[in-house]
Every structure is written in C-alpha cells, then in structure tokens.
Symmetry: D2
Subunit: 301 residues, 4 copies
C-alpha cells in the first residue's frame, strides 16, 4: 500500500521540521499540536490543520506521532478525541517519539487490539538534522511495515536502520542515547581533570581525539577483540585497573571529581573474582554479562 | 647533542619491543631487567647486558626507563646500584612508564638535584604497536630536551606529541587512559543492556558505531558546541536527563546494571541547580567545571 | 468531626493488617481490593465488602488508600467507579501509599478540586509492625486534618509524626526510605569486604555495631557537629579522604566491589575545591549543599 | 612480660594525647616526633625526648608507632636512624596508625625477619577520645601479644577488641572507617534532598533518627534477618528498588544529587538476575557476595 495522506501529531522542535520535509516531498498532511503557532506554521507549509488528534487521524493512510513522552502519546492515541478510534482498521501508526519501551509495547498492544498496526521508529540526531532531512531512523517492526513506511522515512532521514521486530527500534534508541549521554559526562570529567592539572585544553583535545579515549572503544578496540571472540590481552584488565586507579588518585590530588571513573574502577576491581584480570580490557563486556547473568536463568545458583 | 648510546631499563611487554626497535635503528643499548630471559633476548638483538641499573647507565648519552610503577622506577634510579649515580651530569633520563604524576614530579626533582635532566614521555597504544614501532608518545619537557629525544621516539613511535612543559606528558597520559578505561565500561554496560533487551548484537554495534554513542562525544559534538563556545541547545541537558532516566528505568526492568549511567544521571540532575538545563548537553563540561571550581579560588564562598 | 465509618482501599501485605487493626478498635469499614481473597479475609474480621472503589466510598466519614503505586491510587480515586465521585463533599482522604511526591500533589489538587480534603500519611516499618499496630506514620497536612485522622493512626501505629504541611509526609517518607535502602547496600559492601579480607563476621558485626559505621552518622556525629553549627574538625574531611582511599585500594586488592565508597570518595575529593578539607567530616553536608546550591538561585553565576 | 618503658613515635593530634595518657598511668616514655614542639609538650608531661626513632627505641620494653601513613611508619622503623635496628630482639612493636593492610603486613614481615614482634592495633574515635583515654582499639595478633599490650591499651582506650590474628586489626579498621565515611555522604545526600524538598531539617532529623535510615541497618534489620539466616521478606528487594527509584526521580525533580542512591539502585536492579528480588532487602548482602564471589574460586566458570 502506498501512503499519500498522513496524520502528524506533535510539531515540536523535531516534529515541526519533520512534518515540513514530508510536505516538501509531496505528502498530504493533517497536523495537530497543542501549540496553535506550531500548527499555523505547518499550515503555511501546506498542511491541513486538525482540531484534535481524532481529526488529524480521519481518512489518513498512516499516522505519525512525535511527542515528548509516553503518557502524552497515550493521550493522543487513546485519550478524549484520541486518534486511534478515528483511524481506519489496518492503518499504520508510526510512533517516532523517545519513550519507555514498556510504554511503547503497551501502545502497540492496545493499537493492535483496535485492529491497527504500529511501528516503533524513533529518530537519532538533532533539530538541525530534522530540518535538513538527515535524521537517523531506528525502526522496529515487520519487513512489510518498515517497507511501507520507508518513503516517509526517506523524506526525513538519510540513515534508516531496520533494527528488528516490533519494539527493537525503541529499545536500541534507549540504549544508544544512554551511551551517548554517558559519553557527555565521560568527556566532561576527563577535560575537567585536564584543566585542573593545568594542561592546555586544545592539546588535550587534539591528542585524545586520536586515541581510544576520544574515538570510542566501540570502534577502536571492541571490534577486533571481544566482539571478534579474542580476549587475549592487548592490554589486560589488571593494567586497566592500575591506570584507572592512578587517575582516581590524581583526581583526588587535583580536587577534580571523577564519578564515572570511580564507578568504572569497581568493575575493574571485580575482574580477578571472575578470573578475568589477565584478559583483554574489552573482556569488561564479558564481566558485565557475568554480573547481569546474560543468557543464564536467574534462579541458577 | 646526538644520542648514540642508550641505557634501557625495563624489558617487559612494552619495553622489550621498544628496545628492539631502538637496536634495529642502530642505537647502542646497554639493557637491564630483573628477568634474565628478557635481557638475553635483547642481547640476541644486539644489546649489551648490564648487571644492574648503574651498570646500564654507565657511559650512555641517555637513559630510558620503562617500568611497571613509580616505586620500581625510583628504585632503578635511586636504589642500591641505582642508575642516577652512574650517569654523567647533564644526561637526559627519558621516563616512559605510566606512573603517578606526583611520583614523576618527585623523580624529576631528585634527578635535577643530581645534575640530570628528565623528560616524562609515557606511551600510548599496545604491545603490538610497540613491536611495529607505531606507538604514540606524550612528552613533557623543554623544546630542547624533546628535540634531543625525538630520534629515539621516532624509532619506537609513529605519533609523537610534545604535550607541554615537564610533567604534562604523564598528566595527559593519566587523563587519557582514565577516559579510555571508562569507555571500556561504558561500552560494556550499553552492550549488556542491548543483550538483555534481546537486541541483535551485530545490529546494535553497527548502528551505534555510526552515532555519537559509539564515535565519541569528544569528536562528534564537543568540537562544534562547548569547545567552540556555543552552548545553544542542539539537544538540551534537560532532554539528556530525560533520556538517561528512561534508560535507567529500562535497565532496572531488564535487571541490567548501568553503574556509569547511574552516576552520570546525577550530574544531569544537577543542571537546573546551576541554571544549565536549557543549555546544550555538551555544557556538561561547564557544569563539571562549576562543581570542581575550575579557575576559581577554593576559599571563595 | 469524629470518624466512625471508613472506606479502605488496598488490603495487601500492609493494608490488610492495617484494616484489621482499625476493625479491632471498633471502626466500621467498607473495604475494596482487586484480590477477592483479601476482601474475604477482611469481611471475616468484620468489614463490609465493597464491589468497587466507589462502593467502598459511599457514606463513609473518611477514606484510606494503601496501594502499590501512584497510577493505581489515581485509578482507585478517579478511574471508572472511582472513589472520589462517591465521597461526600468535605470528606477526608488519607493517602497512606508510598508514591511519587508529584503524584501525591496531583492527587491532592484533583481531590480539592472535587471539594474533598487529603492527607498524605505514608507509613514506615514492616508488615510485622502493621500486624502489631506499631507502624510509624509520617503525616502531611493541616493540624486540624491530622488531628481528625489521629484516632485512626493510633489504631495502626505507635509512632505518629506530623511532618508539616500537605505533601511533607510523603516527601520525608521518600527521603527516609532512600537513606534506608542506601544503608542496605552500605552495610552489604562493608561486610562483603570484611568477608573477602578473611575477617570473622561476628566480630566485624559486633565491633562495628559500636562505632559510627554501624550506629549511623545521623545519630553519632551529625547532632553535635554540623547540625549544631560546629564544623571544627574532630576528624577532618582530608582524613576521611585518606581513609576511604585506603579502603578502595584494599577493596581492589581483595576484588571486593565498593560502589558506594567509590561514589563517596569523589565527594571527599571535592572538599579542597570548596575550601572544606580542614573542616569536620560532617561538613560533607555543607559540601553537598554547595553542589546542589541549597538556598541559592540557580541562575546566580 | 610486663611493659614499663615505652618508645613512642608520632605525637600528632592522636598520638600526643595517647602518649600523655600513658605517662599519666605511670609508664616511662621516650618520645620522638618530627615536630619539636610536640616533643617538648610530651617532655613537659614527663617523657624523655629522643633525637631520632632509633634513640626512642633504645632500651624500651615496647615501641608504639602512631603516624600518618605507611611510608612514614616504614621510614620510622627501617629508614636512617630507624627504630627497628635499635630494639632488642623479641621486643613488641605496637603499630597503631591507620595504614594500608598490605603495608602493615609488609612491616610485620620485616620486623619478624629482624627478630621482633608486631601487633596491628589501630584506634577508632576522635582526638577528644584520645584525650579522655576513651579510644577504641582493634588489635590483630596472638593472644599473648595482645595480653602483653593490654595494660597500655587500657591507659588509652575504654574499648579494646581483639579482632583476630595478625593483620585483622588493621583490616577491620579500614572496613569500619570506609563504612563510617560512606555514612557521612549518605546522611548528607538525604538531608540535602530534604532541604531541597522544603522539609524542616529538625523534623527530618528527629524522625529519621528513629528509623533504620538513621539508626543503621547493621543494627536495625541485619541482625534479625540475613545475619540470622532469615531472608524471608519483611520488605523485599523489589520494594527496595521501587522506593529508591522513587527517590532518584524525586531527586532529579529537586535538582538534588544522590550519587550513593544512584549507585545503590543498580545493585537493587540486579536482584532479579540473581533470583533474589523476592527476598528480604538485607539479602543485599548475599547479592554482593554473589557479585564478589565470596567463598568461590575465581576461575570457576
């Protein structure tokens, strides 16, 4: 089925430019937002203004939701004048918000109970990318549903990943953003320590931009080591413990807080208890899996 | 002054191949290690065996130390049969171990008191790079001393950074390795959560290798935002708090531990107290500087 | 006004014995729970079974809710067949669940909009205490409302605290339980380290039960020091940093994880940046207040 | 053997009053400190001034060291003019400093190699207690050695614990102080959240001083539950996870940092992976032991 008419709910910092790109590519949009000015802007770009979510949903081939959190999405779909009841049976709902996976799952269950289909397809990157139509989409759902939505995604994004079955798009989005946000703090604590140590910031940034510190272990060391099944030590966990311990001592001398390094050190410290201190530092992944009992029954003790 | 004869103390996993590369490039080496087999190997490569650190130091143009920790370096230089007393006044000691900056500083003080010079020049990368002569050197010292040591560095490394004055090499090394080791855990906790969530690992790795999660904030977002003086929000700290909170909730549902994300969240949570919640996530750096009082006197309250 | 007839919603591990004690003291109860067996048990103790929350609310002088989380309380009060609509105007709703303060506040707003009154009065202690009628109540609300509810509290609790105005009961409950749960982990990490160090557990418990480690800083050192306005050092923060650093090093040698101590150390490490390293360890409170900017405007920079 | 003459090295904030109490009880002291004023004070109290550690050690029945850290103790015993060489064979060295257990062990090894005996006997409590002679001693060593030292301990302390064999005194001291310092931060983060929530401090302190939050889990819940072998849930780990999660959400809303609670939550979150979510919260101890593999071989996988 080809999608021509789209209901679009949520015209915020991200949703606004996403809708604009769909309009630019020739899709017909009926749009709804709680902020009248946002609706007016979309109308100026060619959209039809809807008076409520249900109104935005009437007669469309697909519905997109791009809203701040799970309860707001639920309200837009199932609240008073909600969209779900106004959609024709079988219509595809493309849920692009970043919400809790459990909320996304519950929405899908309720949409399917109402005879509708749902894709979880949250987006990565920034408002700037939304405007340029160069977002990244992480879609979870059937091949057929993703294929059906792809022309829409292509109007908004230049990178489209079909992550897996229903729910996997939002799951990877949550994991991805978690790691990205931890990276914000990891970088901040390193550069703050550098500053307190009197190092020149530009030099520190330039040098670390060329090492695994700045370039990311996921890209630099994980692929050839633990992810390739090789945990022979390029740099063993016991040396990692030594180095991070030196840093914590240095941080304390500089009165520079290293909350992430402090938490990380306790993981390195556990390596010998699990027989891993001589393995490559990337075997930290296996240690985390040990602790979280990945692939093992909880009751097995 | 051109260095031809080198004393080299510490022929371990890193020091062994480093010495081999110096020999290959034509330097004369007298070598010492507590492990006789390591010395024999170097002798097989053309080195002269020394019977103690002092013996390794006699008559050389420069001394390199590459040892496991600060007390061992101190002992090699100032212990019984230590190298320092055997060096000619004015000789350059190139300290390449990874040790506490305070220990490095103390060694320099004592070497200078003995009429010697010291560079702190720890190395980055792995034994494999040591063998290939493609290490990374972070040198701290005067221009002249670094220039004098550069031919030696070039025999062992393909990337040589003069970080700054004395002590800055070891300081940046400690900061760099700290961040690299935190990255080990950050990656492990993200991939463990992905596994517990049932996501396909290859897909997760492939997708996140293309986002700021995998590619590193130091490279992806910091340069154009906070490091360029721009903290207008591409993605504000308040949204970062939302996303990391979603992840922690999801981690708890999956029984997957997120110790770094948990520590990071408490930093995001502080943003409003410092008036920063509307700033770009990279302003996390400014928040850390607020907390650590970078550039402010401690007593100012 | 004297309360004689009570609607009671939520007969779980805590609510069940609480209702039983009210019945024992002669109150008339109409009870509701989603689990029929729980209702039957209460009926056996003299309660009237209600068919829904609204039914439980009809004709009562006060309504008690004791439910697992905020959404469930909201549903019981404002969902289909909810209690709020069935209560007479002016009736007192005593919300005794442990829920988010923001949810509690929202419930109060909505109850007051419906012409009702609400106390937040969560309870402390365990099911055993619920059975014995020796719970602890933390009530938030007006003097008059707390006085009106006190006979009910006295049937269920032996310790009744009027914490402050509306919302303060649930707020202190959340703070209290947080600290209690952190204490669970703090104790576990200390005893685990003791075990890994080969110490006799009974001895360790006996000794630490007599020190501030086991007896609690809130009781042992805070009252006479920081809470009394005295931060002259009995034991300065710099010594605290030394001791916790020793412990972390020891934990790493024993491969015993100290996640709380690791996080705590980073706070001690910040003391010099704020000019507090020479102050008593209890000035940690002032340092936390510095970081959280207690009593200071967020934008002041 | 009865001890009459004591060498005492280290007359700081703690050592000074400890020596004074020994003098008051009639012991003969020869004292040494790097600070002349401290020595003079002791001389005014009846001590003999020693010119160096060796001088303090000559002709004594026992030697006490009370110094700031391990290297300083080592220097006092084995450095130039060190005490060890001046002691008669068989003399008892009572090491009362708080130093790393590994340093304490190394000192004992070296003292025994020199034909001497050593007790590790660090003290708890504060300078005020040192003055009052009401310190707490944690002694590690043989029954006979502890008995020999007991009259000295009784001059300085009102609580004397023989913790176990050599090394156990300092080990428990380190564990104890770690927990005490974590308690400093735990209390601070709770009271800071209370302040940010607008709660009255006195009320918060008063109420929590009566619950397990303030009174300590080691005393309140551990003895009757996990330490008594009972992990049937008074309050199950899953409820602990709920409560600490509520607190973290509340902390984020209040912009009040909860670094310890954040770290603790990740432990609670792991409970289901280990089949423990339905067990009593005190089973957190067993979970920590699971993670640290207490009583299990490291390589067992």
């Amino acid at each position: 089925m080809t999608i021509a008419r789209i209901g679009f709910i949520g015209l915020g910092t991200m949703g606004g430019p996403m809708a604009a790109n769909l309009l630019r590519k020739g899709f017909e949009l009926s749009v709804y937002d709680v902020v009248p000015a946002a609706v007016e802007r979309a109308v100026g770009q060619g959209a039809r203004a809807a008076s409520c979510p249900a109104d935005a949903a009437r007669g469309v081939d697909a519905l997109i939701t791009m809203l701040p959190d799970g309860p707001v999405v639920r309200d837009a779909l199932f609240g008073p004048d909600g969209a779900a009841a106004a959609l024709e049976r079988g219509t595809l709902v493309i849920e692009m918000s970043t919400i809790a996976p459990s909320q996304s799952d519950a929405l899908r269950r309720d949409l399917e109970a109402a005879g509708l289909r749902m894709l979880d397809a949250p987006v990565g990157r920034t408002p700037r990318h939304a405007e340029a139509g160069t977002l990244l989409v992480m879609a979870g759902g059937t091949e057929a549903d993703v294929a059906e939505a792809t022309p829409l995604f292509e109007a908004m994004a230049d990178t489209i990943h079909h992550i897996g079955p229903a729910g996997h798009g939002i799951r990877l989005k949550v994991v991805n953003n978690c790691m990205a946000m931890v990276g914000m703090v990891m970088t901040a604590e390193a550069l703050t320590l550098a500053a307190k140590a009197g190092l020149d910031r530009d030099t520190a940034v330039r040098v670390m931009s060329g090492t695994a510190a700045g370039r990311g272990q996921l890209i630099m060391n994980y692929p050839n080591k633990v992810l390739a099944g090789d945990i022979t030590p390029d740099f063993p966990l016991r040396m990692g413990l030594k180095d991070i311990s030196l840093a914590l001592q240095f941080g304390a001398e500089m009165a520079s807080p290293l909350p992430l390094a402090a938490a990380a050190r306790e993981l390195f410290a556990l390596a010998p208890a699990w027989g891993r201190e001589g393995q490559d530092c990337t075997a930290m992944l296996l240690l985390m899996e040990d602790l979280a009992r990945v692939g093992r029954a909880p009751a097995e003790r």
